[in-house]
């Protein structure tokens, strides 16, 4: 009899365990950056977060293949181009949320509410102070001017960050003018394009190039370890339309089994509690205007950012890629 009682207790405990709510996340952001957040969320709410990481392309292929039977409730990835693509493939669901609309500025989320930015990175200029004077720098377009011949460094056009930058330029200036600018960039290159931003920034500091374009957090990671690093940040296009920004963000999957849980988690991620953990860990800017950035990130000063809606980055991405191919930007 006693044993029977114990069994009942054990079974009811198991049932209790089985009922702990879970949200399942497919993430193209690496685990180190998001795990601390989810741990904090679990501690606060008791909701368990299961994560599966992979590159964004395979994750989308996976969601497509799984169809209605996907275990995923939420997709997290970097770059609006990727988020737009997931939405375009019909993998995401429209979410209506007052909280998200309040916490995320309009140009950093999908106007249909299928995805929301959660952190902001600016893609701006960096220069070597021994070779280039800040007052000579102005805009991205200006880097196509022959006066920068042999001084410019760029990362490969294969990276989505550059594709989004060029896509946003197409949105603003049209295809013909953008192609002229990109051809000008290629003509000004000091050396072959770099495989990543870190290498590019190091080349600027070493004097291989005078100026280049990179994401702020790569610079942050370097100066965090080496405050004497010989490169400076320059906020591009401040007198015109503002610096090119992009996001990392998330959306609820179309066939989410726990839609409400995923929305709650997303709202929490956009709240002041989570924004600092989320953005500071990777030295990015919080998406929520009410939240202050990390000390190092704030030290770069305020800047005006371009407010064209991020969806353009996705819509015009393949056009941008073809344009860069034509211009010989590898």
């Amino acid at each position: 009899m006693k044993r029977f009682g114990l069994t009942v207790i054990a079974l009811s405990m198991l049932a209790g365990l089985a009922q702990a709510e879970t949200v399942t996340v497919y993430s193209a952001r690496n685990e180190q950056l998001i795990k601390p957040l989810f741990d904090a969320y679990t501690k606060e709410t008791g909701v368990e977060v299961k994560v599966l990481t992979d590159k964004e392309g395979p994750l989308m292929a996976r969601l497509q293949a799984e169809g209605t039977n996907t275990p995923a409730d939420m997709l997290i990835t970097v770059d609006a181009g990727n988020l737009w693509q997931a939405s375009n493939l019909g993998l995401l669901k429209t979410v209506k949320s007052e909280t998200l609309n309040k916490n995320v500025p309009a140009h950093l989320r999908d106007d249909k509410g299928q995805w929301y930015g959660l952190s902001v990175r600016a893609r701006t200029m960096f220069f070597n102070p021994d070779l280039v004077k800040a007052e000579d720098l102005s805009t991205y377009e200006d880097l196509a001017d022959p006066k920068w011949k042999g001084k410019l460094c760029l990362r490969t056009s294969k990276k989505v960050y550059n594709q989004s930058l060029v896509a946003m330029m197409i949105a603003q200036y049209g295809e013909a003018k953008t192609e002229k600018i990109v051809r000008g960039w290629v003509a000004n290159l000091a050396t072959d394009v770099f495989p990543d931003d870190t290498k590019l920034l190091q080349a600027i500091a070493a004097g291989q190039c005078g100026v280049g374009i990179a994401n702020t957090y790569y610079f942050g990671r370097i100066v965090d370890k080496d405050p004497k690093f010989n490169a400076r940040i320059f906020w591009a296009n401040q007198k015109t339309d503002g610096v090119h920004v992009n996001v990392s963000g998330a959306g609820v999957t179309r066939y989410a089994k726990n839609e409400a849980g995923a929305v709650k988690l997303m709202e929490w991620l956009s709240s002041d509690k989570a924004q600092n953990i989320y953005a500071d860990k990777d030295l990015e800017f919080p998406v929520n205007p009410a939240v202050k950035a990390d000390k190092l990130v704030s030290s770069w000063g305020p800047f005006k950012s371009n407010v064209i809606n991020m969806s353009k980055a996705g819509e015009l991405q393949s056009q941008a890629v073809k344009l860069m191919d034509r211009a010989g930007y590898k």
Binding site: R29, E31, Q32, R62, A65, K158, Q163, D196, A206
Partner: protein, 533 residues
């Protein structure tokens, strides 16, 4: 050669299907023409890609032979100071992922690296220094990364050749170098070609290394179509072309091997003792290759690891290591088992259809991992979607049955690495003469008994090499592991992906280092075994 051998085909089909189904999923993409993208690819992407891929294949074939064959000859047949050490040490680069070597080499030799920085400090300019990020640089790195395939197989060949053939040649008045060119090398041909084929397939499928060099190949064009132009269909179509290319390479391989039959017995032979100066040169050459391909990247990995391990190393690591080793070992055994069957059936039921099926079963190695991963995942997800309603009726609350199971992951890995297990065993099988089989038969061994009593004992060296090479390759493999692993089933390679996915290269040092270390163990075992022969 007959075309059809029903029994052979029936036995082979299930194994070949492992690769054929994912490839079929990829090739089915041709049902949806994408004229607009293709026009763009033809005009602006493919000319460069085809040229680059061609140059790379030629350069790497030359490079791996140039490194692999002489080193194998020196350590297998000659006697010089340090030979025993180099014999196993020269296999170590097998455990070093190519993209790690590439990253370290570029970091070392580029404008911002220590070498050119020192040059600038001493002489004021490093402008004359050769550019590492160039076609030559890619070929160099890949040759250093992939020569162990040729080295391992060639060494096997030279060891089992015995000195008799050489002695006979010399008795007939040939000089030693001539005997090497005329006798030893032709006798080792199936191995050399086998090793080279593996290196070329690996080259075709590579993405990590060429990205670091920003060198456009077929693989980068596939990824561009998929991730940048958002067109998985065009990407699959490009991948299908790549498969065609590989099938052609494998055809050339068959032809290059020739129709000759090889056989030989392992004879413990006297080694060729090198003179003192020759011996020093030999040791210097071995040391140089070892230093560049293994020691320098290893030191760099250790330096980075000491910077990050305090933060990164946590209680989960033993789990990563166990899972990596476990899955690699299992995959090694499964692939080797399949490969043995392939080789045996090819021997027992020679027919055109069997050899076509065998080719197909080994083609997965040259398909870029991510593409094959999708090809594997789509049919599995489809099957799951068929089975789930039944499971739900039975009251199981689940959304995955097959997908996310370790068994499926193993089969997917087997589809990818079949070639790696097949080559060494196939090479060893060609060494078993039909006379030996006939002799065994006259002694009353049944057909089935042949496999157990004659083939397997004689194939031991090949089998061991196969298990080792698959083990090391699976340790390093990323895309299939990422796509097919169960939730939370992270391995060392997954950790490497996590760290490198956002450009944190230095943080990837710890899992990379552990991958290399875990790969060392079987290498050392293998060598002790081959030395013991």
């Amino acid at each position: 050669m007959r075309f059809l051998s029903p029994r052979g085909a029936i036995l082979l089909t299930p194994i070949a299907l492992l690769t054929i189904i994912p490839l079929f999923v990829v090739i089915a993409s041709f049902l949806h023409p994408e004229p607009e993208i293709w026009q763009h690819l033809f005009e602006f992407v493919l000319p460069n890609v085809l040229k680059n891929t061609g140059i790379l294949l030629l350069g790497v074939s030359f490079g791996v032979l140039l490194l692999g064959v002489p080193l194998a000859w020196l350590t297998a047949v000659c006697q010089f100071p340090g030979r025993r050490f180099f014999a196993w040490a020269l296999m170590l680069p097998l455990a070093m992922p190519a993209y790690v070597l590439a990253f370290v080499m570029v970091g070392f030799l580029d404008f911002t690296g220590p070498v050119q920085t020192l040059l600038r400090e001493w002489t004021g300019s490093s402008a004359w220094f050769p550019r590492i990020r160039s076609t030559g640089g890619v070929i160099l790195v890949m040759s250093l990364a992939f020569y162990p395939y040729v080295y391992l197989l060639a060494r096997n060949a030279f060891l089992t050749q015995g000195k008799r053939a050489l002695e006979a040649a010399q008795m007939l008045g040939m000089s030693r170098p001539r005997a090497f060119w005329k006798v030893a090398l032709p006798m080792a041909r199936p191995w050399l070609i086998g090793g080279m084929t593996l290196a070329l397939m690996e080259t075709l499928a590579d993405f990590g290394t060429v990205s670091i060099f920003n060198f456009d190949t077929f693989t980068t064009a596939i990824y561009k179509s998929w991730f940048s132009l958002f067109n998985l269909t065009a990407a699959s179509q490009l991948a299908s072309l790549l498969v065609v290319l590989v099938v052609m390479i494998l055809g050339v391989e068959r032809w290059a091997r020739g129709a000759r039959r090889y056989h030989g017995r392992i004879v413990a032979a006297e080694r060729i003792v090198l003179t003192q100066s020759q011996g020093l040169w030999a040791a210097a050459a071995c040391s140089l290759v070892l230093a560049i391909a293994f020691i320098i990247p290893m030191v760099q990995l250790i330096v980075w690891t000491t910077q990050v391990w305090r933060v990164d190393f946590d209680a989960r690591y033993p789990g990563f290591i166990l899972r990596s080793v476990g899955i690699s070992l299992l995959a090694g055994l499964i692939v080797t088992g399949f490969a043995l069957l392939l080789v045996y059936i090819q021997r027992r039921y020679p027919a055109r259809i069997t050899s076509i099926l065998v080719r197909l079963a080994t083609v997965g190695y040259a398909v870029p991992g991510t593409v094959l991963a999708v090809g594997v995942f789509i049919p599995i997800a489809w099957l799951d979607n068929q089975l789930l309603p039944i499971a739900h009726v039975l009251g199981f609350e689940t959304f995955q049955i097959l997908k996310g199971s370790v068994a499926v992951m193993l089969l997917a890995l087997a589809a990818r690495f079949m070639a790696v297990g097949f080559q060494p065993i196939d090479g060893a099988m060609q060494r078993i003469s039909f006379n030996q089989e006939d002799a065994a038969r006259t002694l009353g061994v049944s057909d089935r008994g042949l496999l157990w009593r004659l083939h397997i004992p004689l194939l031991r060296g090949g089998v061991f090499t196969a298990v080792l090479m698959v083990f090391v390759d699976v340790m390093k493999e990323m895309p299939i592991t990422l796509m097919t692993r169960p939730f939370g089933w992270d391995t060392l390679a997954v950790r490497v992906f996590e760290m490198t996915s956002e450009g944190m290269w230095e943080s990837a040092a710890l899992p990379s280092l552990l991958i290399v270390l875990a790969g060392l163990l079987p290498v050392i075992l293998l060598v002790r075994k081959s030395e013991g022969q």
